[in-house]
């Protein structure tokens, strides 16, 4: 039995303690926003927060969450449903294409901005390099992080001539 908090809700779960957090939250709690991509912490699609720190949930056993707080993509909006600044910037910059990696991207970006509210390009590159976007929306992710940080104004590109 592992005791942990998921998005503010205290839970006890009877699973093999070596089962990765990813499968516990997806299969036992039905929260499917966190995605399976590689299984070996290479792509970041499974990123969640463990006591606020971003971790790759595909490679972190649930025993590591004993007594701790797990936050997933489903848990970062306000209780009244207002999206976080990062989520809002993801919409204003029209970041997602297929969207599969974006929960992980948003969780990483949220952690980055908490510790580094005004990140430089180099800091964004270093922090976000663990999250693969196969649709290649890196430019928009970079811009959205700056918009969420208040460094840049929201706005779309692509005006036709």
């Amino acid at each position: 039995m592992v005791s942990l908090t998921i998005n503010g809700s205290k839970e006890e779960v009877d699973v093999d303690p070596s089962m990765p957090i990813l499968w516990v939250i997806r299969e036992r709690f039905g929260m499917t926003g966190t995605k399976f991509g590689c299984g070996i912490a290479q792509c970041g699609a499974c990123t969640v927060h463990l006591d606020g720190e971003p971790i790759r949930s595909c490679s972190t056993p649930v025993s590591a969450a004993e007594g701790k707080e797990v936050t997933t993509i489903e848990g970062i909006a306000s209780e009244d449903g207002t999206l976080s600044k990062v989520q809002q910037a993801w919409i204003s910059e029209q970041v997602p294409q297929c969207g599969y990696c974006q929960s992980g991207q948003i969780m990483s970006a949220t952690a980055l901005l908490r510790d580094t509210p005004q990140p430089s390009d180099e800091q964004i590159n270093a922090f976000m390099r663990g999250n693969v976007c196969r649709c290649g929306m890196y430019g928009r992710i970079r811009k959205a992080i700056k918009v969420a940080a208040g460094i840049e104004q929201p706005g779309q590109q692509g005006a036709a001539t």
């Binding site: 990765p20 299984g39 029209q94 297929c98 270093a126 693969v132 196969r134 929306m137 890196y138 992710i141």
Partner: protein
Amino acid sequence: MNETTSTKPSSSKTSRSRAAKWTRRGFIGAGALAGGALIVGVAVRSGNPVGKLKPIVAGGDDEALINSWVKIDADNLVTAIVPHCEMGQGANSTIAQMLADEMDVNWENVRVMDAPADGNYVSQHAARLFVGPGTLPDRPNQVGFMEPTYDGLFTQLGKLAGAYITGGSSSVRSTGQNGMRIAGAAAREMLVAAAAKEWGVPASEIKTQNARLTHAGSGRSEPYSAFAEAAAQQELPRAPKIKQVSEYRLMGTPAPRKDIPSKVDGSAIFGIDGGPDSDDLRYAAVKAAPVVGAQIASMDASTAKGMGGVLQILNMGDFVAVVADSYWQAQQALGTIKTAYTETENDTVSTAKMFAGFSAALDEAGDTGGNSKAEYGDPIDALGGAAIAVEAEYKVPFLAHATMEPMNCTAWVRGGKCDIWTSTQVPLMARDGAAEGAGVNADDVTMHPVFLGGGFGRRLTPEYSNQAARLAKAAGYPIKMIWSREEDTAQDFYRPADISRFKGGLDENGKAVCWNNVHCTEDEPAEAPLIEFYDIPNVSVRNADVEMPVRLGAWRSVAHSQHGFFVESFVDELAHAAGQDPFEFRSAHLANSPRHLAVLEGAAKMAGWGDALPEGHGRGIALVRSFNSIVAEVAQVDMTGNKPRVVKMFCCVDAGFAMNPDGLAAQMESGIIYGLTAAMYDEITLKDGKVEQSNFHDYQMMRMDDAPEISVQIINGAPDNIGGAGEPGLPPAAAAVANAIFAANGTRIRELPIAKHFA
């Protein structure tokens, strides 16, 4: 698709009175749904560019069909029911935008819903209202796809919804242009007609805007919903008038995508997330024979049997599966199973041997042999008389798609029926695969629409829905089967490897006089290796038949992915041999191709072509026409480190008309990164018949710290001749970078991936 619609014909009389009409563009039908909603549908025949897939989905017909539907609810919300899969390209949102513009509906009032790949939806809920008795086409040969019966017609319409392919960069230019716009225009005309009748005023005096009907003379104004039911009773327009470019209000604007909000809060349901609300759901991990054609000869599952959560261990002949309470438990147990495989003729396949075969085939084809793709002038004679002769050979590897969402499928087989949740670009094909696996009729398979976690051509095959259905049938309860990343990498349908050889000649003024190319892959699309837009008078383009005992598939931009690199690298070599600037050289050969020239000049101008660069940097340019769009890209590469670093990419695109410029720009950005990833890092190799790569550590993805800054500029060069968006950004990328490396330090890259040369 979580929406269900209950339908109730208002009366058999009104059904009869409602004519379904053929226009010169297709078939329009309309009906009223319960609660006063109007539904209008359009079926159109139109050319489909996805060549290789046509026989599979269109039964040998050389045309495909478009179904587009629109629904207006009592609350004045307009729902576009779109027959394409949303795999990231945003096209569903864009074609809804086209519909909304023709209907004069504001974007806020528009919803998008996937067309269900399920005949039952149509027959039970919608299509029965499309066509009343006595309205079947009187010349059935015009509509060979429809059976000459009432129910048969509905069934066929339903199948068409499932037949839809999402590929070939085709959604906007076929479904949008020919289906959605007609449906929107027809719906608008019927609403106007209904209001004109009720208000007793001429239809021509009624204005439509923001989903409202207004008659200035009498001061009347009502939302569309007020006339939705009455509109269903109106005469169907025979040829609805669609807008001129000057009348566009939503088309050509960056309307926000409708699918994005669900993709930032975790609520979007992808294939891997879908499934029945059932406590009986269990999980399967699978491993197929690693060599094409091999079967499981024997397996030792003694360790797996005792592992926690393991329910079933199955030898399925061509793959091994473990079913467990959790996917992770299934995967752990599968990893302990020792498997022996049957011998096959593919056990000795290797990439080295295949490339040797390519070289031998090209040697044999020589300057004139092989299958002719284009021949004009006399390139042999012209080369003999050329002032400068240039020769080069280029090589590209096999590639995997590596969608972020690995292949997966959830299946439930019970009572002669099968339910399927899976990410697929071709719902009908996935359905047929599942039907075969479940041993049920295709009509008894229900496909549940889900988002795709990437497509790129990978999800055009039915093998994974077949696997899941077989497992669910064997298990007797619902099964969620997920491929590991390793399985996904090893069991892909790969972009073909290729070698391409060129001989070109220049006259004393540096003008290209001849072009002779022979390569190996089949060309799909056929235009991929062709260069008729360049003013070169003597041309031969051929391919040689080669053996590739590998699963091959369509990979984003298909043969353009290889030929973009080959052709634009060789054009660059010709330019340098002529002692000319590569941009000037291309410009000089585009005298008869003004749209190509404008795009080339656009990219050069964006990049500041000719301006000084930092020490060790170089610029390269490339121009490719694909899927009816023209794209030029300039790469700026930094060669001061121990490996090339792409710093900036400048992209100019003419896709005819950008229905959603931000969406088109996003597709260019995406295609560029996909192309750069392949150009820089990746190759799939085979040894002893097996793929050697397995996961993202040995099949690398471009990441944030290597991703260049990308600028996109759009030219609307042909508003009536729209091109694709999902693929055309990719083909120029590799050549632009290779050409930039040459400009920086004189190293000519003739083989991809580039990383190989800097290991």
